[in-house]
């Protein structure tokens, strides 16, 4: 499933980042890499972009990019991670 399938407050883990080119590079640079756990925080007031918590910081990205990130749902991660 893609990142958008998660509801606010749900945890997930990145399986694959399918975006291309510069966007992919940006995502990788910001820590959106395979295996990284994250928390879905919220959608912006107008529904787009979305906000996640990953690597102990808050990151926002647009729906169209989030749709290209495959994730799997996870239960709460251990403390020393996300």
């Amino acid at each position: 499933m893609d990142m958008l399938s998660l509801k606010n407050g749900e945890y997930g883990q990145i399986i694959a980042v399918n975006a291309k080119g510069e966007i992919r590079r940006r995502l990788l640079d910001m820590g959106v890499v395979k295996g990284a756990p994250f928390l879905m925080i919220r959608k912006a007031p107008l529904g787009d972009p979305i906000e996640i918590r990953i690597k102990r910081f808050n990151l926002s990205l647009r729906r169209e990019e989030a749709a290209q990130i495959l994730v799997e749902k996870r239960s709460e991660p251990e403390t020393n991670e996300s």
Binding site: I23, D29, V33, G35, P45, L46, N58, L59
Partner: protein
């Protein structure tokens, strides 16, 4: 003799790098530009022991790829200028993400010191970091600092000196990408090591990593060396080898390896206290950007920003006005020679006054913006409005320059520097004139006052602003779907934790911006007002000497006004409006004072209520003309200074010409429609 040390500061945005820079060098800094790009370059000097330490603040960046100009500037500086020491500023509260840049710096092979910044926050969160071990893993000294609390600054400088002297050395550590990739890297760097010229300048392993990452700039760089033939062959083989193994995503693999290294390092050295699930920032965000309140709060904060700017600036502007009027009167009394007095009083003094009178607004606006940025709200604002901006093809960050446009087009155009994508930047610059600037306000107020009752004047004024925004939206959509097509910058943005910025930082930023305004706009505005002064006073003849209106009509400005009359007649304007619009090119508020002169009020701008009466009683000046003029002033090219700044920022005469032509045409067409609609329906 003091010795020089050159130090470069690098770090993620929001890592407190700029605050650290400001605290290190204080007021001894100068702003310049990185050559070839419109990214500001901050340099400063600090004297420490027997050394003069030159500190260069590199642009904030998350990575060192070749995608964004900031990253290229930062890495080129480190590679090519070879600063003696590089300080990597990392946010101790966000160590994991910040170390990503550090891993890339490790590969550049420079003398690096890590400033573990915001260490006070780390302590507050009761996080413990084994600095000794982390030093070993990173192969770099670590100095805990807190810019806001002024902690560790001396230790940092001491480390700079000692690293420079070679007194303290830590063995560099190599980041491993796994056996397979390390093998590739070794093969490539071994090849390149056969090229002494290349190796003298660049770290071969770094080159190898970048080649695997398919980094265009590094590829072009290596291409100039004979060894490239061998390197290219090896690269082809490596890619073939990887494809065979089904590993076709080397970019991802490298990023994952860095990530794994960082996670490993963190696991070994950092113990996080069981953190509170909900931080202060989270709680604030759950109100400030929640689904219901997010937008209203955003609008309120923007409103507050302008309220603050204009309310606080108004009295200061008045003093400046009074001061320059007084100066004018004083000088008039001293100088007896008529033309000389006129050029000094009406030309120079009122010109300089015209520049300075906007300074309070600009300083205050930039202070407010710097403050909101420092607090961390600006990123939230982009988050909240991105959807709207995205609809017209822009990036959430475009809203800040557009908003600044309500104050003045010049800082607004300068603020487009935060936009990395060229098409985003140009579109934003093109729509800024439609955000009604503060110099247009007196014109709006005058014209609305003439034709509308006091009770609805405020609503009409709001309508005028809204109409400008609508034109901006249409323009953006139009440009993004035609001449400036192309993807906008990816919206992958950090929402930093809320912080209270230091006063010093806020002031320094506002001061730097204001300095930029004076340098860029000051000279042009001054020149423009001299030209307008000349054009409206010459040629002189004895016949017209005592009749101001006749004098103005015969002046060059008057001649231009009459010359363009046929063009503007369809909008309901005659030559008098022609003069006012022409002089308005110097600065929009001049439209009011020119109309004052035309309606023979002498030194006019203080008498706008009298002017309103005169206009009301002029039979040629009806509500259709008034609305048409209102719209024209709202839409036509902001002022010559803005055009000059546009040229400097776009670095293109073609776009500058288009900018002028587009705003002029839009103003004409829309005024034409408004004039004729008004005549049809309002009579």
């Amino acid at each position: 003799m003091k010795k020089d040390i050159v130090v470069a500061l690098i770090g993620n945005p929001n890592s407190g790098k700029t605050s650290l820079f400001n605290e290190l060098v204080g007021a001894h800094q100068k702003v310049g530009n990185w050559s070839g790009v419109t990214i500001e370059k901050f340099e400063g000097v600090v004297h420490y022991q027997d050394y003069v330490i030159h500190v260069i603040d590199l642009p904030g960046t998350y990575s060192l790829t070749a995608y964004s100009p900031e990253e290229v500037v930062a890495r080129n500086y480190i590679i090519e200028e070879k600063p003696d020491v590089v300080i990597d500023v990392i946010d101790g509260g966000n160590i994991e993400r910040n170390l990503y840049l550090t891993t890339q710096l490790m590969e550049l092979g420079t003398n690096m010191i890590v400033a573990l910044n915001m260490v006070d926050e780390v302590e507050k969160q009761k996080t413990t970091i084994d600095i000794k071990l982390l030093q070993k893993l990173l192969g770099s000294h670590i100095v805990p600092t807190s810019a806001t609390k002024r902690r560790g600054l001396d230790t940092l400088l001491e480390h700079v000196v000692r690293v420079f002297r070679g007194q303290i050395v830590i063995d560099k550590n190599k980041l491993s990408y796994g056996e397979k990739i390390d093998g590739y890297l070794e093969r490539l760097s071994d090849l390149m090591s056969g090229e002494p010229d290349l190796i003298a300048q660049y770290n071969p392993r770094w080159l190898a990593v970048k080649l695997l990452e398919n980094d265009k700039l590094v590829y072009d760089l290596v291409r100039h060396y004979p060894v490239f033939i061998k390197v290219e062959l090896a690269l082809l083989q490596i890619i073939g080898d990887m494809n065979k193994r089904g590993a076709d995503d080397i970019e991802g693999d490298l990023a994952e390896a860095r990530d794994a290294f960082i996670r490993g390092a963190i696991r070994e050295t950092v113990v996080f206290q069981k953190i509170k699930k909900i931080t202060f920032s989270d709680r604030l965000d759950s109100i400030l950007i929640n689904r219901v309140l997010g937008l209203p709060i955003f609008l309120f904060i923007m409103w507050l920003t302008f309220q603050f700017t204009f309310t606080c600036a108004a009295p200061i502007m008045k003093w400046i006005h009074v001061l320059f009027n007084g100066l004018g009167i004083l000088v008039s009394a001293i100088i007896v020679n008529d033309p000389l007095r006129s050029i000094i009083v009406d030309g120079v003094i009122s010109g300089v006054g015209g520049v300075l009178v906007f300074l309070p607004q600009i300083v205050l606006l930039f202070m407010a913006i710097s403050f909101l940025e420092g607090v961390g709200y600006m990123a939230r604002a982009a988050f909240v409005v991105d959807k709207v901006m995205h609809l017209v093809g822009l990036h959430g960050k475009s809203f800040l320059p557009m908003m600044t446009g309500f104050g003045c087009s010049i800082p607004a155009i300068m603020a487009t520097r935060t936009l990395k994508n060229k098409s985003d930047k140009l579109v934003t610059m093109m729509v800024i004139p439609f955000m009604s600037c503060s110099a247009k306000l007196p014109v709006h107020v005058l014209l609305i006052g003439v034709f509308f009752p006091k009770q609805i004047a405020g609503t009409v004024l709001f309508g005028v602003y809204l109409f400008g925004v609508l034109m901006a939206v249409i323009t953006a959509k139009l440009l993004k779907t035609t001449v400036l097509k192309g993807a906008s910058e990816p919206f992958v943005m950090e929402l930093p934790p809320y912080r209270i910025p230091t006063l010093r930082s806020t002031f320094m930023q506002a001061k730097n911006k204001a300095g930029g305004y004076i340098r860029r706009a000051g000279t042009v505005i001054l020149l423009a007002s001299l030209i307008v002064w000349f054009a409206s006073n010459y040629p002189q003849s004895s016949l017209t000497k005592n009749d101001k209106l006749l004098q103005l009509k015969n002046s060059y400005a008057g001649q231009i006004g009459q010359f363009i009359e046929p063009v503007i007649a369809p909008l309901g304007f005659d030559w008098r409006m022609g003069i006012a619009l022409t002089t308005g090119l110097a600065a929009k508020e001049v439209v009011v004072s020119t109309l004052g002169t035309i309606y023979s009020l002498g030194e006019s701008d203080d008498h706008s209520s009298d002017l309103a009466n005169k206009l009301r009683s002029d039979p040629h000046f009806n509500i259709a003309t008034g609305l048409s003029l209102l719209v024209f002033v709202l839409l036509y090219v902001p002022c010559l200074a803005a055009v000059a700044v546009f040229q400097r920022e776009s670095k293109s005469w073609k776009w500058t010409t288009f900018y002028v032509a587009y705003t002029m045409t839009t103003a004409w067409v829309v005024s034409f429609i408004v004039y004729h609609l008004a005549r049809m329906f309002l009579f």
